[in-house]
Symmetry: D3
Subunit: 129 residues, 6 copies
Amino acid sequence: MESSEAYRRGEVIRAEVFGEEGVQRARRLARLDPGLANYIMECVWGGILSRPGLDRKTRELITLASVTSLGQLPEVEQHVNGALNVGATKGEVIECIVQMAVYAGRPACLNAMHAAEKVFRERGLLDGD
Amino acid sequence: MESSEAYRRGEVIRAEVFGEEGVQRARRLARLDPGLANYIMECVWGGILSRPGLDRKTRELITLASVTSLGQLPEVEQHVNGALNVGATKGEVIECIVQMAVYAGRPACLNAMHAAEKVFRERGLLDGD
Amino acid sequence: MESSEAYRRGEVIRAEVFGEEGVQRARRLARLDPGLANYIMECVWGGILSRPGLDRKTRELITLASVTSLGQLPEVEQHVNGALNVGATKGEVIECIVQMAVYAGRPACLNAMHAAEKVFRERGLLDGD
Amino acid sequence: MESSEAYRRGEVIRAEVFGEEGVQRARRLARLDPGLANYIMECVWGGILSRPGLDRKTRELITLASVTSLGQLPEVEQHVNGALNVGATKGEVIECIVQMAVYAGRPACLNAMHAAEKVFRERGLLDGD
Amino acid sequence: MESSEAYRRGEVIRAEVFGEEGVQRARRLARLDPGLANYIMECVWGGILSRPGLDRKTRELITLASVTSLGQLPEVEQHVNGALNVGATKGEVIECIVQMAVYAGRPACLNAMHAAEKVFRERGLLDGD
Amino acid sequence: MESSEAYRRGEVIRAEVFGEEGVQRARRLARLDPGLANYIMECVWGGILSRPGLDRKTRELITLASVTSLGQLPEVEQHVNGALNVGATKGEVIECIVQMAVYAGRPACLNAMHAAEKVFRERGLLDGD
């Protein structure tokens, strides 16, 4: 099944967004449940997330808005990295998370800001650290 | 208090996004609680939502992602209108909501799609209706 | 089972909070599932909600904060009525809901405000209607 | 794309769960976004939901637990019907929803109970109506 | 109060589901708030969760679906253990969590999968570790 | 902008609730995004949270109910401290969290109880530790 066109398209897009770290995460998941790993590559990344109509950066920003609103913190870290990997600036990531204070509440915003701060630090994007 | 610069800036941006319908909603809220209406105009629209760093259309799309994920359906309708008012296409609105099937689940996506369909119909954007 | 002390205590407190309307709701639920209706009367109202340590009004306000945050709108209406029935003022109810804009986001707050407005109107608490 | 084996498998399972009403819903969605309708049939019903390892009835009950917990009420109605269609009894549906009072809270449970009551009535499963 | 029939019934069922670890958790809670510990044993385990109409394994699976959907990770771990303790297989636990990708979104599913993986490892259920 | 009357009012109230620890948190946030830190001080603390109509203790208790219901655990810790700082007793904090078992579910309640227990221990409010 891994040889479908959608699967290969998903692999390319996911690598662009998550880089080598994402490949490791996919391998770990595939050991636990190959079918779920396959679904995520073929149906999610090779399906929904590869549809034309929104550019890669906007897709990562709306994902970041969603996982911030839902309080899914490990995903916030991954998609802060993802957004930066596909061309969003640190400032745009911050704007996206700050705006969630309005719609999802201040706690959801601040928890995501702390997750983003960790990523910024790892990538050397914080001044004076 | 209504005469602050932030308040006036908020009024301009909110009118751009929500149009006349939004003005009516703000008046109704102001009758119930003027302080809350003022906060929303001055701190939300004139504050967070008027920060530079993200364009108006991207801001509406990330808001749409958030309220779709949170299942806030009246807000979905308002921000589908808002996104269309500031230049998003029907196709971009659909992409944003479809992508939420991945992150917030299929029910959150489909409920928002039905709300969006209602707005598309009101604006004459559905074929063959 | 309905004759337990906790059940009778629950009936008294629940009647104080919800009045006759609440009695009707309990009867309707008992027709569908007597055990659930019994649990709610005996364990919830006669148990947790009848513990000393917080006065009735504060209990209704924290419940209102919870159901507003969770977007449980039918419950918002019921507990706006409940809070007013046990001595909260219209102003206190509004403060409680407005504060949720900070913690649960503006959409959760505004949806609850519209539910509260409906209750205020039914009780003749809105000026100029 | 609709001719894939997974698509056809999804159609069969979904028809078993939702019946003719579900076919109408799928057609309406396909008019709005054929790709999303296709994803749901091929990846969701023909993919995840057609995996062996859990029987159809258990799958519908855990779905009902999830949408009750998430407060997704239109889905509650659909999956009460779905659970009954694949062999769950009215009593099992009620047990599933009642149990959610523990994990998702009493409001989530009661809202779902009212949605289930509506379905029971439509199917003639309520005594004395 | 601990000597009620419902309390003793709850103790038996809870011990079956959670084992010795659950007894320790209950004692710790009872030190902080005996009334809450009592409520959970008597009303939850001895009440709602001891109703006939669903077998123990199905009850644990719908609980797992609920806490996965709600993102309650410590509970996910406890109920993965609980489900395994009352006869669910590792495969059935995985199916239950995978299905939540559809209804609660991929992040909720993956976070729960990582929690389950930890339990599988502790119980020696992972190959090649 | 920091010199506005609302900003100064916010600083005073926030210091009363959170103490020195809160000042450190605000400084850290201001380094990451001064505008967000300013918004929180001026619009949230100096705005919504400084409105008359509810006393400080009741405001902290409804906040605690909200963040417990939303599963925002770092906020639970902060507002358990906040509630205690403005005059709530340990018993009142526990009542507030226990009541959430009814409205937001047992997992949300227990997670918050564990966060509160940690704060009680830090403040020397647990017997026999």
